[in-house]
Subunit: 185 residues, 2 copies
DNA sequence: AGACTAAAATAACATATGTTATCAGACGGG
DNA sequence: CCCGTCTGATAACATATGTTATTTTAGTCT
């Protein structure tokens, strides 16, 4: 047969993801990636047709990373949507570049915001059901309104126009949740 | 004396602004701008030290454009903040590239979101005063909450995750306004 | 009209990027 | 142990960008 490859796909993809995370997806260039992976640019083009395809894989990985982040985020609140919202805002603050790629780049060849949020676990669906069980009249509408607020918070966190602590953020979300549910009674 | 300049600053700045509006500020390159202005790249560097300085001017112009847009937006609603919010969301939907430059690029060497909103006319201050006069308990807090929602709507409009008509948007904003004010009583 | 001078076009330089060609060599199989 | 083959490094090509040097050109003033 032929020679064994010393540069593996995971070496490249790991490096590409790290580069995106640290410097933004615009900075994932062939040469920078090669330097990060400790090889020349050749293995990249053996593994991927072109840089766009590679970025597509990085995007998928970012989506999985986000899902895992939400999964791992502490579920302390009994109200539906709040924990997911807290995870989302926290993610935007801590992982600006990943958040940008997933939710602000218009890179939606892959998934819509709703699909990303819902993930493989059907998170949003589960939360909507929880809200319904709690007696919320129109849980889908509540989710939409809450999510717009949460997305706004996250985007402002990214640009530095929102700098509350986690505790303050949580209190704010709860107050918003209550205002919405009261108004929908 | 010497020769008169045939390429004026306004020719360059107009072209740069148009280019930013049509293709995004990342696309305002020396050569593309020269082509748009119908000259070579030389006059650009006579008028500006470098491309960054030029983009700074484009940014200022965009801020003025946004202020004028808000000024011209129909003031039909008697509730404070709503007209400004409608203008903001409408602006995000119609002028994606300008909105990106002003509110999503982290290009805040110039002005914060609040300064941009408040403009020269003190728009936000005026609206806060109006809300106070209407008996709102804590108009600053109300503004903050409403604005997070409005910014979220605008950002989602940009990425295609928010596609309500103007009328639907207005109804939504009013319902949010009422939910917040009720909750703050 | 002619000379001077600044403007503007052209061309060049330096760098960055995607992508491909060339080629030495390392590895698997006989 | 050698052969073939595929890997991966180097180098190259093509393009894009900011910026600067050089040259041409066109006003302006005398």
């Amino acid at each position: 047969m032929s020679r064994k490859a010393s540069v593996t796909e995971s070496m490249i993809l790991d490096s590409a993801f790290a580069l995106m995370q640290e410097e933004g997806f615009e900075q994932v260039t062939a040469r920078k990636l090669a330097a990060k992976a400790g090889c020349s640019t050749q293995p990249i083009f053996r593994l991927y047709e072109n840089m766009d395809q590679l970025i597509g894989k990085v995007y998928s990985r970012a989506a999985a990373y986000f899902a895992a982040f939400c999964e791992a985020y502490p579920q302390k609140e009994s109200l539906p949507f709040i924990d997911l919202g807290m995870a989302y805002i926290s993610f935007a603050a801590k992982e600006k570049n990943i958040f940008r790629l997933l939710f602000m780049s218009g890179h939606q060849g892959e998934k819509s915001m709703y699909e990303l949020l819902n993930g493989e676990k059907g998170t949003v669906g589960r939360e909507v059901a929880r809200a319904g069980a709690k007696g919320v009249r129109n849980p889908g509408e509540l989710f939409m309104k809450l999510w717009i607020f949460i997305h706004g918070s996250a985007c402002m966190a990214l640009t530095g126009d929102f700098d509350l602590t986690e505790a303050e953020t949580e209190a704010l979300l709860i107050s918003i949740y209550q205002a919405y549910t009261e108004a929908m009674k």
